[in-house]
C-alpha cells in the first residue's frame, strides 16, 4: 500500500552569502514497510526534518530517489510539523476541516476533538490557544485525513507529560484501528521504544544510517516503564555506536 523506499545519494543546501554549502544527507538507503511504525532517532540538527520534507514531497532538490509505493492522487498524507502551522484566520474546527478536502467527516473530527479535550475550543481562533493546545490541534488535523502515511516531526515536544502520554496512547489506538505507515521523528529514545515497531538510528550531519533495530517488546507491554528502560539499557550495551547519538 504505502511502503516507502528511500534512496538518497546526497542532499546539499547551497551556500548563501558568507555561509558555505552544507551536506545534509549522504548515502541513505532505507525501506519502510507498509503499515509499519518506524521511529527515526538522531541528534538534533542531523537532518531528520530535511528527510521528512523530502518524503512529503516539499523538497525535490536532492540527488537520489524516493518512492512511496503506489502514490496516487488519492493517497493521503498526514503531516505533523515541529511547529503547529495553523491558520490564524480560521477557527480550530475550520483548520481541521480545511484538510478534509475530498471527504468531509464531521464525526471523526468530533471524536478527535473529544479525545484531545478540545471540544470546548473548537470555535476559537488559534491565537488564543496555548502552544500545547495548538500542537494537539495540529495532531487532530493530521489524523483527520485518515492518512495512509503519517509523517510526524517531534510532535509531542512541549506537551506536558500526562497529555503527551495520552496523545501517545491515542496515536497507537488510531494506528491499530486503521493501520497505516508512520514515520516518527524524535530524539527521545524512551518515546521511540514505546511507540515503534522499528528504530532507525541516524548519524549527525551528513546524515547517514547507523543502526536498524526491531523493538522486541510486545505491544501489550509498551506501557510498562521497566520493560522500556530495560530495552534501552540493552540497546546501549549492545550498540556502542548509538550511545553517542542520544
Amino acid at each position: 500500500m504505502s511502503a516507502i523506499k528511500i534512496d538518497i545519494l546526497n542532499k546539499i543546501f547551497p551556500g548563501v552569502g558568507e555561509a558555505t554549502g552544507h551536506l545534509a544527507i549522504e548515502n541513505l538507503n532505507l525501506t519502510i514497510n507498509s503499515q509499519e511504525f518506524v521511529c527515526l532517532v538522531g541528534p538534533s540538527g542531523c537532518g531528520k526534518t530535511t528527510l521528512l520534507n523530502i518524503i512529503a514531497g516539499l523538497d525535490t532538490d536532492f540527488t537520489g530517489e524516493i518512492s512511496v509505493g503506489r502514490v496516487t492522487k488519492q493517497s493521503k498524507i498526514g503531516v505533523v510539523f515541529q511547529n503547529p502551522r495553523l491558520l490564524a484566520w480560521r477557527t480550530v474546527r475550520q483548520n481541521i476541516e480545511l484538510v478534509q478536502e475530498r471527504f468531509q467527516n464531521a464525526e471523526l473530527i468530533d471524536e478527535l476533538l473529544d479525545v484531545m479535550q478540545l471540544t470546548a475550543f473548537q470555535n476559537v481562533y488559534p491565537e488564543r490557544l496555548s502552544l500545547g493546545m495548538s500542537r494537539r490541534v495540529a495532531l487532530i488535523r493530521a489524523f483527520a485525513v485518515n492518512p495512509d502515511l503519517l509523517l510526524m516531526d517531534e510532535p509531542f515536544v512541549s506537551l506536558d507529560a500526562p497529555t503527551a502520554r495520552q496523545v501517545r496512547d491515542l496515536l497507537l489506538l488510531l494506528w491499530k484501528k486503521r493501520p497505516h505507515t508512520v514515520l516518527f521523528v524524535t530524539h527521545d529514545l524512551r518515546e521511540a521504544i514505546a511507540l515503534a515497531d522499528r528504530l532507525v538510528f541516524l548519524s549527525a550531519a551528513p546524515m547517514g544510517f547507523v543502526a536498524d533495530i526491531k523493538v522486541s517488546i510486545p505491544r501489550t507491554e509498551r506501557n510498562n516503564e521497566q520493560a522500556i528502560e530495560d530495552f534501552r539499557q540493552q540497546l546501549i550495551n549492545e550498540y556502542p555506536a548509538i550511545k553517542q547519538l542520544i
Binding site: G57, G78, V79, P126
Partner: protein, 248 residues
C-alpha cells in the same frame, strides 16, 4: 473622559469651520467665500441635480477603473511575487510605468484612442496599476512559507491555497492598495475629466475655474470628500473589522 473623547472629532471640525469663517470675514474677498455661502451653493447645486449628476459620473468612473486596476494588479502582483524569473523580467517595466507622469499617460491615451470614455478609463487604470502590483508583490513575497508547505503536503487544491492560505495573508496589503488607490485615482480622474470629458467633477471644476467661482469649487470639493469618507466608514472599515476578527 469618554464623553470628551467622543466629542473631540466634532470639536476639531468646529474649530476648522470657525477658523475658515474668521479668515473669510477678515479677508472679505469674493475669492474666499464664507462657509454659509458655500453651504448655500452646495444646497442649490444639489436641488438642481447638477452636483449629484457630475459627482455620480466621476464616482462611476472611479468604481470601474478602480475595480479593473485592483483585479489586474492583484493577479499580476501575486504572479510576480511567486515567480522569480517573471519578476526579474518585468521589474524594469514596473519601474518605468511607476515613473511615467500621470499627465503623460492621460494625454497619450486621448491622442491614441480619441476623447472617448474607454480612453479615460484606460488612462486611470494605467496610472494606478503599477502601484497595486508593487504592493501586492511585496505582500506575496512575505507569505509564510511554513503554511505553504503545510498546504502542499496535505495536497490542498490550487483554489483552496489561493483563497484560504494566500488571500488572508494578503489582506492588509490589499487594503493598503485600496486606500492609497482611492486617494490616487480620484485625483487623476479629475485631470482626465478636465482634459477630455464633458461631464464629471473635473469638467465642472474647469468651468468654475474659468468663472472664478470659488464657492462652487469648494462646494464640490466638500461633497467629494464627504463621499470618500462615507466609502471608508461604510465599506472599508467594516471589511477590515470582519477580516481581522481573529486578531487578539
Amino acid at each position: 473622559m469618554n464623553i470628551v473623547k467622543s466629542f473631540l472629532p466634532v470639536l476639531s471640525l468646529l474649530a476648522l469651520l470657525l477658523a475658515w469663517q474668521s479668515l473669510a470675514v477678515f479677508l472679505n474677498s469674493s475669492t474666499f467665500p464664507r462657509p454659509v455661502l458655500v453651504a448655500e451653493v452646495f444646497w442649490r447645486a444639489c436641488i438642481s441635480g447638477e452636483l449629484p449628476y457630475h459627482l455620480g459620473m466621476t464616482l462611476l468612473r472611479l468604481i470601474v477603473s478602480f475595480s479593473i486596476a485592483m483585479l489586474l494588479g492583484c493577479a499580476m502582483g501575486i504572479a510576480l511575487g511567486r515567480h522569480k524569473k517573471l519578476d526579474a523580467f518585468f521589474d524594469n517595466w514596473l519601474v518605468i510605468f511607476l515613473n511615467v507622469p500621470a499627465l503623460v499617460t492621460i494625454i497619450l491615451c486621448y491622442v491614441w484612442f480619441g476623447l472617448v470614455e474607454s480612453a479615460a478609463i484606460l488612462a486611470v487604470v494605467v496610472n494606478k496599476l503599477p502601484n497595486v502590483i508593487v504592493t501586492i508583490r511585496e505582500g506575496t513575497r512575505a507569505l509564510d512559507q511554513d503554511l505553504m508547505d503545510m498546504a502542499r503536503s496535505y495536497r490542498l487544491s490550487k483554489r483552496k491555497i489561493l483563497l484560504e492560505i494566500i488571500w488572508p495573508q494578503l489582506h492588509p496589503f490589499v487594503m493598503g492598495a485600496t486606500r492609497s488607490g482611492l486617494a490616487l485615482i480620484w485625483k487623476i480622474i479629475l485631470v482626465v475629466e478636465l482634459l477630455g470629458r464633458s461631464n464629471g467633477m473635473g469638467y465642472q471644476l474647469h468651468l468654475f475655474f474659468q468663472m472664478f467661482d470659488v464657492a462652487s469649487i469648494l462646494a464640490y470639493t466638500l461633497a467629494f470628500v464627504g463621499v470618500i469618507q462615507l466609502i471608508e466608514l461604510l465599506i472599508l472599515k467594516p471589511l477590515d473589522q470582519h477580516a481581522l476578527r481573529w486578531r487578539r
